[in-house]
Amino acid sequence: MKALSDKETKNKTVRPLRLYGDYLVMLAAPFILALSGYGARPLAVISVAILCAVLSDMLFCVILKRKFLLRDLSNICIGAAIALMLPAGVPLYVPAVASVFAVITAKVPFGGSMRTPFVPAAAGFAFVSVCFKEQVFDFSYNSAQKMLGERSLGALLMQGNAVRLNAINVFDIISGNVAGPMGAGCGLLMAACLVFLLFRRREALLAPLSFIAVCALYAAILPRVNASVFTSIFMELSSGSLLFAAAFLLSDNAAQPERAITKILNGAVCGLFCMTMRAVGTYEETVCFAVLLANAFSPIIDSAVKKLPSKKKGAEK
């Protein structure tokens, strides 16, 4: 299959079916991992999230007298992405609320997922993080066999204690055997998803890669734990949904600027906000808030970048 360029998707020459089909292929892997780790529970969470996203979109299509496109897979992607960032034991109303909020505030009012300036899944997750903080960051479900029990890496980082990596099984962390979001904990799998993107939409990788680089740099310069630089970087990147957001939210082409340099800057800004929020904020996972902020800053960065060459031209004249 031919890889998609961002120009194609912006110009709407590519059908959403193909774009979101790719996302669904990518989302299938963490979903299967969640099933293997937590049993049937993830199936219930993901089903509720997808169903609510589809139904709310359908309802608004009826209200607004617009055609509901069954082949628009974006609702499924929104629901699945939200569900996989939540803990497996989360009450089912949480994914339902997140999906409905994502669709009715970040998708419908802006004319659909191909034109929205914000990533709907990030909006949905951010909303439930504010509304149901205890439930969204309660990772106790089925966590007896996990490396740190019900404590997540994010919680460990927030406490800021001294950590020695050799005392923690590195493989446990990168394979997702730590309490955390049900589908976002496995670093290896997220890396595989990024590799998949490399073959499918190479330009979409710019923002995620610069995001990860800035997060790593921030973790190295301003570590939250008393540990080596490598340990700090490793733990920050592995905690929460950081890599998941890089692969699935930051690569969303609708909310991404067109220029390569803007994508890189956008990812960097997102990384800076994400790590600053982690350092000074009250939430264990802040990546979705950072994605929304980066989406808001994206047009400003884009117009600043657009002005650069014209200044150069002016100077040459």
């Binding site: 109303y93 609320v97 505030t105 009012p109 909303f127 504010v130 509304c131 149901f132 903080k133």
Partner: protein, 274 residues
């Protein structure tokens, strides 16, 4: 100025079609920040309503010949003279227990943009009677939004209405935060727009709320009078990119620049570097 406009005309335009909060985007601070319950919303709307009427009537009666830059601090002073004694009385002489946010946001009503917009846009250009009509209409429109938003936020955020528990399965803490209010305002504005497009389609052009094509003969609230004022005063309290009583017509940068140029404002000249 003519007094031919009836209260109904003024009411429909001021409270519904060009609702101060949902269309003109004025008075957002009290509704977004403080209208988190029916009680707080009712208090804020009562204060805003009384203050709006009083200041608009005083402005129309006494401040028409005062220069605009002198009028603006006077609105604040008049507002504070009206609000602070009442607040002081409630605080010190009654057993009413005001929350900290109410103690701070009630005086902020004195500097509310609804007051400044309607005093400058309407009251100082019209008779006392029409200024009273306009202030009452706008006050009712704003108060209705304050109270409706307050009830919804209290219901969804605290599962109570007026302090009485309501049995709903889930509460949303986010609804008590400013973004929750903005979401409610977004839906309310969409509902209002749908209503206006059905009942008053002459106010809708290309999906955006605009001035009615056939304006009433009275010059009091015509686009021309507003624009004429703007041409002499760049920073009218009225939104720069709007039609008649404030229906914001969002435009591209080029449209905004063109619009500003039509008002005699060169965006290059007024740049930051200047």
């Amino acid at each position: 100025m003519s007094n031919k406009l009836s209260f109904r005309d003024v009411f429909v335009r001021g409270a519904v079609i060009f609702n101060p909060v949902l269309v003109q985007l004025a008075g957002l601070c009290p509704v977004v920040a403080a209208s988190t319950s029916l009680k707080s919303a009712a208090m804020l709307s009562a204060v805003a309503f009384a203050e709006l009427i009083a200041v608009c009537v005083i402005a129309s009666a006494f401040l028409k010949k005062v220069p605009r830059w002198v009028r603006m601090p006077l609105y604040l002073i008049i507002g504070l003279v009206l609000i602070c004694p009442v607040l002081w009385y409630i605080e010190t002489k009654t057993l009413i227990n005001l929350s900290l946010s109410m103690k701070i946001y009630i005086p902020l009503i004195a500097i509310n943009s609804v007051v400044a917009v309607h005093c400058e846009q309407f009251a100082v250009k019209n008779s006392v009677k029409l200024a009273f009509y306009d202030a009452a209409a706008v006050g009712i429109g704003a108060s209705a939004v304050f109270v409706a938003v307050g009830v919804l936020r209290e219901l969804l955020g605290s599962a109570t209405i007026g302090g009485m528990p309501v049995n709903i399965p889930v509460t949303f803490k986010g609804m008590l935060m400013p973004f929750g209010c903005l979401v409610i305002l977004g839906f309310a504005a969409a509902l209002l727009k749908s209503f206006v497009s059905k009942k008053y389609p002459e106010y809708i052009e290309n999906g955006v709320l605009v001035a009615k094509k056939e304006e009433p003969s009275e010059p009091v609230i015509t686009q021309e009078s507003v624009e004429a004022e703007e041409q002499t005063d760049e920073t009218s309290s009225e939104p720069i990119n709007e039609d008649v009583q404030g229906g914001i017509k969002i435009g591209t940068q080029e449209e905004i620049d063109e619009f500003l140029k039509s008002l005699g404002i060169d965006t290059q000249e007024t740049g930051d570097e200047q």
